[in-house]
C-alpha cells in the first residue's frame, strides 16, 4: 500500500493542466511505474475548471476526498477549492498568481486574496509551497510552460518516485525541440524555487 501515490491536479481551461498531467504520466511509465491518470474536461475548455489525476499503483483513475498525497494547483483559487481532496499530512504545490473568474474580475463577487489562500492552505497542511508559476513560465519563454515549473518544484522537494532528469528526458522525447527547450528551462526555474 505504501507504494501508492495519488496526485490531484487542478487549473483553469487553457492553462495546460492536461499537458502537465500527460507529461508526468509518460515520465512515470518510462521508469516502469504502474501509472493511471484521469481527466475531466468537456465543457471546461471554455474557461471552466479542469481537474486531472495521476495515480501510481492504483487501478482507479479517480481520487476521492481526503485521498490525494499531493495537490498541484495551477491557479490559487482552484488550489483552495480542491483542498478537500488532500489527505492529512499531504503536500500542496500551487501557483501564487490568480486568474480571477469573470464574476470576480468584474466585481460581482469577491474571492479570497492570494495571501488569504496561502494562510488557509498552510494552516491546513503546513506542507505547502507557492510559486509564481505564470511569471516563471514567461521567464522560460511561454506562459503555459509555468505548469512545468511546478513539476520542477515537485521534483526538487523529492515528492516523486523519480527525479527531474526523468521528466527532462520525457520532455525531450515527446515535444518539438523549440517547445522542449522552453519547458526544460521552466523545469529548472521551478526546481530552483523551493529553498
Amino acid at each position: 500500500m505504501s507504494s501508492k501515490l495519488r496526485i490531484f491536479m487542478t487549473g483553469v481551461g487553457g492553462q495546460g493542466t492536461l499537458t502537465a498531467t500527460t507529461l508526468l504520466a509518460r515520465a512515470a511509465l518510462s521508469v516502469g511505474l504502474p501509472v493511471t491518470s484521469g481527466e475531466i474536461h468537456g465543457m471546461a475548455q471554455r474557461g471552466g475548471v479542469v481537474e486531472s489525476t495521476l495515480l501510481i499503483g492504483c487501478k482507479s483513475p479517480k481520487i476521492g476526498l481526503g485521498e490525494a498525497d499531493i495537490l498541484l494547483g495551477f491557479e490559487p483559487l482552484e488550489t483552495l477549492r480542491a483542498l478537500p481532496y488532500l489527505k492529512p499530512g499531504g503536500l500542496v504545490l500551487s501557483s501564487s498568481e490568480a486568474l480571477p473568474p469573470p464574476s470576480v474580475a468584474t466585481g460581482k463577487e469577491t474571492a479570497p486574496s492570494v495571501a488569504d489562500i496561502r494562510a488557509k492552505v498552510t494552516a491546513c497542511c503546513g506542507n505547502a509551497c507557492f510559486l509564481p508559476v505564470r511569471s516563471l513560465g514567461v521567464q522560460a519563454g511561454a506562459v503555459q510552460s509555468g505548469n512545468i515549473a511546478l513539476l520542477g518544484a515537485l521534483c526538487a522537494l523529492g515528492a516523486l518516485p523519480f527525479g527531474k532528469d526523468v521528466i527532462a528526458a520525457t520532455i525531450r522525447a515527446t515535444m518539438k525541440p523549440k517547445v522542449a527547450e522552453i519547458n526544460l528551462k521552466a523545469l529548472e526555474l521551478g526546481a530552483a524555487c523551493p529553498a
Binding site: 483553469v12 468537456g42 471554455r46 487501478k59 483513475p61 482552484e78 483542498l83 478537500p84
Partner: protein, 629 residues
Amino acid sequence: MAHPLLAGAPGETHLFLGNEAIVRGAIEAGIQFITCYPGTPSSEVPDTFFRLSPEAAYTFEYSVNEKVALEVAGGATLAGALSMVTMKHVGVNVAADPLLTLTYIGSPGGLVLLSADDPGCHSSQNEQDNRIYARLAGMPCFEPSSAQEAKDMTCAALGLSRELGAPALLRTTTRVNHLRGPVILGEPTVLSKPAGFQKNPSRFVPIPAFARPMHLRLLERIEALRERAESSPFNVVSGAGTVGVVASGISRAYLSDALDETGLLGKVKTLDLGFTYPLPEKLLASFMQGLGTLLVIEELEPVLETEIRALAQRLGLTLNILGKTPGPLPRFGEYDVALVQTALRAALGLPEPKKQACACGDASEVALPAALPNRPPNLCAGCPHRATYVAVRKVFGDTAVYSSDIGCYTLGLLPPLKAADFLLCMGSSISAGCGAAKAAGQTVVGFIGDSTFFHSGITGLVNAVFNRHDILVVILDNRTTAMTGHQPNPGVDKTNLGDNPVRVDIEPLVRGIGITQIRKVNPLNQKATLAAIEELKDLSGVRVLIAEEPCPLFARRAYGQKRNQVAYVAGDCAASAQDGSCGDCLNTLACPAFYVEDGKMAIDPLLCSGCMLCLQICKNIKARKGDAK
C-alpha cells in the same frame, strides 16, 4: 514520424488515452470502415481516426447524425467491411431505429457500436444506461475498465462480431474514455478487401414474413454469444469465501483498489465481468455456489443485479443479494473507491469505515468550496454567439421564450445573456419551440448551431413550414462543430485537415424548403443584425436568421485569421454604470476579457480577441493596435 497508434510494434508499451486505445484495438482487428457523430466523451475516438486517416487504410466519415452514421456503417458491414460506429450515449437514442433491426439482419462484415455513457452528467443532459440497449437489441456487450482493456475489448468485440455476424456493443463511461494508462500493443490484422453485398432477400429484407424467422435466429445467436461469455477471458473469478462480489465496467477498478486498501484481497470471492451480456449463467451459477451474500457493483441501473436475482431464483438459491434494490449502492452518479469500500463493509457485516478525513478535517463537511466564487464555463472572448444573443435580447428582452439546443451556445443560458429557457435534445430547438409557441401563443425564438441544424434541425424546420408554425429560428453558423472539438459538418469550408471540397449551403437549403423570410448577417455587425431581427420580429410564420461568423478559435487555426487590433476603454465606464452614460458592456456582454480596476471597467489586451463588438455598443471603447491574434 508515423503515430504509434498506426506504427507501434507488437509488444511495445505506450501510454494511451482510453479513446486512443479503442482506435488501436480497432486497427489491430483490421478495421475497414468507421462512421460517427462526435460527442463527449466519445469524440477523441473519431477525431483520432480522422487525424490518422491520410496514412491509414480504412474509410472514415463524420456523418450528419448518429442514425445516419449507423445506417452508413450498417450498409458497409452488409457489403463485408469490418465496421465501427462511435457516438455518445444519447446518440444511441437517435440511432435506435436502425439498431433494433440491424441485430435481426446481422453484420456479415462485423460491426461494433461504441456507446460512450456519461454517469454523473459531466457533459450530457442525462445519465442513461445504454447497457439496456444491449438487451433491447440483442447484442453482446463489452465494458472495459482500463486503457489496456479498451484496446483488447475493441479488438475482441470486432472479431466476435465478424465471426458470428452479430453487431456488438462496446460500452464505455467517461472515466474510461478519459483515463490514460499503459497499453501493450498487439499485432495489427490486415483483412482482405470487402467481398461486396451478397443478395439474399430473406436474410436482409425484414418484411414481416422474413422478420419473424430473423427474430428466431437472433434469439439463437444470443445463446451462442452466451457460450462465448461463459469462457471469455474478460470474465474472471478470483478470491474465496462466502461473500461474493460481481463488478462490471470501471467499478472493477474501484473494487480492486478497495480490496487492496482494506486488506480484503483474497478474502472475498470476486467475479470481474467484462463481457457482460449475454449473462454467463453457468459461470454465475458456479460462482454463487456456497455464497451466503452476493454484492453486485455496477454504476447506474441495476441491470446485472436484476438478471442475477432472476438467475438465483431460477436456480433455487437463497443467498442474500445486495446492490441497489435494496442495498448500499446508489442508482445515480459515478462510484468511487470509498463508496465501494463502504458497500463491501456492509456486505461483510463490518462496521462503517471512519469518514475519510482530509487535510482540513472531516471531508464530508468541508466548508470551503461552497463559499468560493464559481468558475462556470463561458462563451470565449470574441465568440460570435455572444454578439447574436446581445442583439436578440436587445430586441426581445424577456418577452420571448428562448428555445435552445446543444452546442457551445447553450452556455448563453447564464445571465446576463439568459438566452436559453428550455432544451430537450439535439435539434429540438425548432420543433419544441414550435409547440411551445402554438400551445399558448407566446413569442418563441429558437437558437440552433450549424452542426446541430444538419444533425436534426432540418426536419423540424420542414415540419414548421408544413404545419404553419410561428417561430423565429436563429441559426448560429460558426462554420464548425465547436463544442466537441471543431469537427467538420456538411456546411464547413475548412476541416482540421484542410479544405472541404463539398459544402452544403444553409441559406439555399432553407429557401428550398419554402421559407422566404430569411436574413443573413454577420453578428459582429451589430447594426445590421439588430435591423434584421427587428424586421423579422414584425413578420409572422416561420422566419430564419442566419448569423454567420467563424468560431475565433477555429478561425485562427484553420483560416489563419489574424486580428491585429484590441479594444480598450478610452472614456470612463464605471463598474456600476446603468445611468445611460455608457453602453454598460461590463454588465450586458459578460466578455471574459473585461475586468474592473479601481471601480472602472478595463479590457485585458491579452484576452481581447479583437471582435470589436463592445466598440459598437459603447462610445467610450476604442480600438488600438495590439498583438496579432
